[in-house]
Symmetry: C2
Amino acid sequence: MNTSGAELLAADLSADRLHAALRDPALASMNFLNEVAGRFPQAVPLAAGRPSEEFFDVDDLPRYLRIFCDHLAAEQGASAEIVRRTLFQYGRTKGIIHELIARHLARDEGVGVDPESIVVTVGCQEAMFLVLRALRTDEHDVVLSVSPGYVGLAGAARLADMPLRPVRENEDGVDLGHLVEQIERARAAGQRPRAFYLVPDFANPSGASLGLDARQKLLAIAAEHDLLLLEDNPYGLFPAEDGRRLPTLKALDTSRRVVYLGSLAKTCFPGARIGFVVADQRVAGTDGGSTLFADELAKIKSMLTVNTSPLAQAVAGGKLLEHDCSLVTANAREKQLYARNLRLLLEGLHRRFPPGGDHRVSWNTPDGGFFVVVTVPFTADDAALEYGARTYGVLWTPMSHFYDGRGGENQLRLSVSAVSPDEIEAGLDRLAMLIADLTGGTRATP
Amino acid sequence: MNTSGAELLAADLSADRLHAALRDPALASMNFLNEVAGRFPQAVPLAAGRPSEEFFDVDDLPRYLRIFCDHLAAEQGASAEIVRRTLFQYGRTKGIIHELIARHLARDEGVGVDPESIVVTVGCQEAMFLVLRALRTDEHDVVLSVSPGYVGLAGAARLADMPLRPVRENEDGVDLGHLVEQIERARAAGQRPRAFYLVPDFANPSGASLGLDARQKLLAIAAEHDLLLLEDNPYGLFPAEDGRRLPTLKALDTSRRVVYLGSLAKTCFPGARIGFVVADQRVAGTDGGSTLFADELAKIKSMLTVNTSPLAQAVAGGKLLEHDCSLVTANAREKQLYARNLRLLLEGLHRRFPPGGDHRVSWNTPDGGFFVVVTVPFTADDAALEYGARTYGVLWTPMSHFYDGRGGENQLRLSVSAVSPDEIEAGLDRLAMLIADLTGGTRATP
């Protein structure tokens, strides 16, 4: 083992003998973003993608727990002993709120799935890793992902030693021509494209959504090229004020082509760390029989985290039950808040950078979700971010962080989820000053 | 993609194109054990390794939560807003109860560690995977493990694509000669032995413990051969009635040779899914600087589960705080229960199979923990287990399940953790009948 540095003992380790994912620049850059946010706590957090805290209440937690326990007793006839065992002991690997999640999918998404095809996971991140780990048999298996894309998927892929091929976004959400091209290039290079990951609704980071027609075409491409679609849907319940919700890919899926990745982080709360995966694919065994893909994922989970905290599941389950398993109903206030904030941000940009001006600033208009992408006439990199935080007190995210390779150099992501209307106004004022400063225009007075 | 079977759609998958760990016989055999236990719910569970439920109380949960919130407010000066954010939002990747765990280690184990070197994990299973994933750079890295050994470690190793070399147990706990032999064999085969995994106190499945002298020798071997020791300590707080606790390897470790794997499953409750790893090793960077191994593990965790449920941590933290961070104090009743059960089981075996009889039944006498290994004059395999469950109503675990390859064919593991004194008596009566039956002696009347 190579060690260096006077303070190191022989026992210690060397970075070059640790897994390569640890030397990934993407990882360092995410740490940098967190570190900058930590260093400037007074800056307006237009970078933060976490949900609003406005409706969180510590007193809700014991009530959720009680509702879930009452449900076990009333609906499943559980004795006090069984209730206690369900919360305190190890539990079913695939989870204990799978039936409640299935009811949510039926009510809110019009998706009918067998609860047995659901695996409850430690956040959606574990679900991504389980799926990629299962699909990765050797170095030839690759996953395709929309680019710019969610860094968590890239992280899970690296941890599973699975190469990732980017697929471009366009005005329809995904450049389907580029998807086919990348599938064919991968095959030509001797690779097996196993799955394509995307967020069809109000994507992170771009805010883009796939139209209905594009969804149908994507399903056809997946069928033609024998590809699974990994549909991640953390923001789908939050359309814009005048927006509507389109059917999910899973709702349109008639041939078990879609593995649906769910998160309760934005619709329940992140601190429960509850996500799930719907994996209703049949897996043909070598003995002629078949199993559910969900059961194969559960086997991997048994080697990774054993099971998702029943205590945390019980609290999330109580919140689901309190709203008859509709997360749309449960999130009525949140939906309004995010849609209002999105409108305020877009209006605020419009006021500060009116059409026809020579500001060379533009942005997209998402149909919902947390994020807006702004294009600016300078390099929106880490240095610009830090300068803006220090000089003007505003935080945003360089879009280049969401590309695997080059891209987004002149773009930044703004988030509306964890800010108040006043903060949106103040944040945009400060951002406008930073833009003026870095564009070389007259420096505004803070 | 190869699919077969009339009910399969083109979208579906084939087992031979999923990760090899899913075809591991060890996995199938663990599923078999769970399945048998499920099919015979009335059988006496001398197989179950889960903790006693006797002291679990659903009403404790809100109190633990309140204690933790009060602690945040009182000790850390957190506002109501910060308390709410701590429980509901995403949190620190390395966890939020690291300081409480550090206090527990100081109080109960005499181990002084910087809280920053602790990563709170989703059970100890995630901690194992994080460590192995970090140490696995390519196909040459291998981990050594005591055999018979905990199946969770074997599972984590397979999931990390890391070969495992078994090291024999002997009357001193571990055959240190065989350890050195296996290190040398691995090196000769072009492999890099990175770490040796063991449970020094009251091991699962064997109940064996390492003597103080063997602990010192093991640390010396690890230093000489540049190996990390992965010390797993789920049962250390539960010595036998006349037993004593030896210092952990981590307490004896003066050169950061030991990575300590902790579990709160048996000392708090499994449903919180809280484990932790102490990784105070320094990692030399390529730039001349150095980081904590814990921070490298946290980077992997950020790609795997993001963070451990703050809600679950808060509940576990409340239990720690209620007992001034001493799990010895918190588990006074549990310690007594397990020690009594272990005595009753050993006395019961002694009465049924007295010394000098021609029964050809023998067993070890662990110094504590949950498990006793019984040697019998027949093949104690899955068929015998199922036969015993069906015919005599008793469950136990074939020791062969804990070997990677051959071993333990005539041995079975009995567990005392989830049974009452009456169940121990009844279970041993039934086991004695099964033994008489399978040995070919006179069949006893049920």
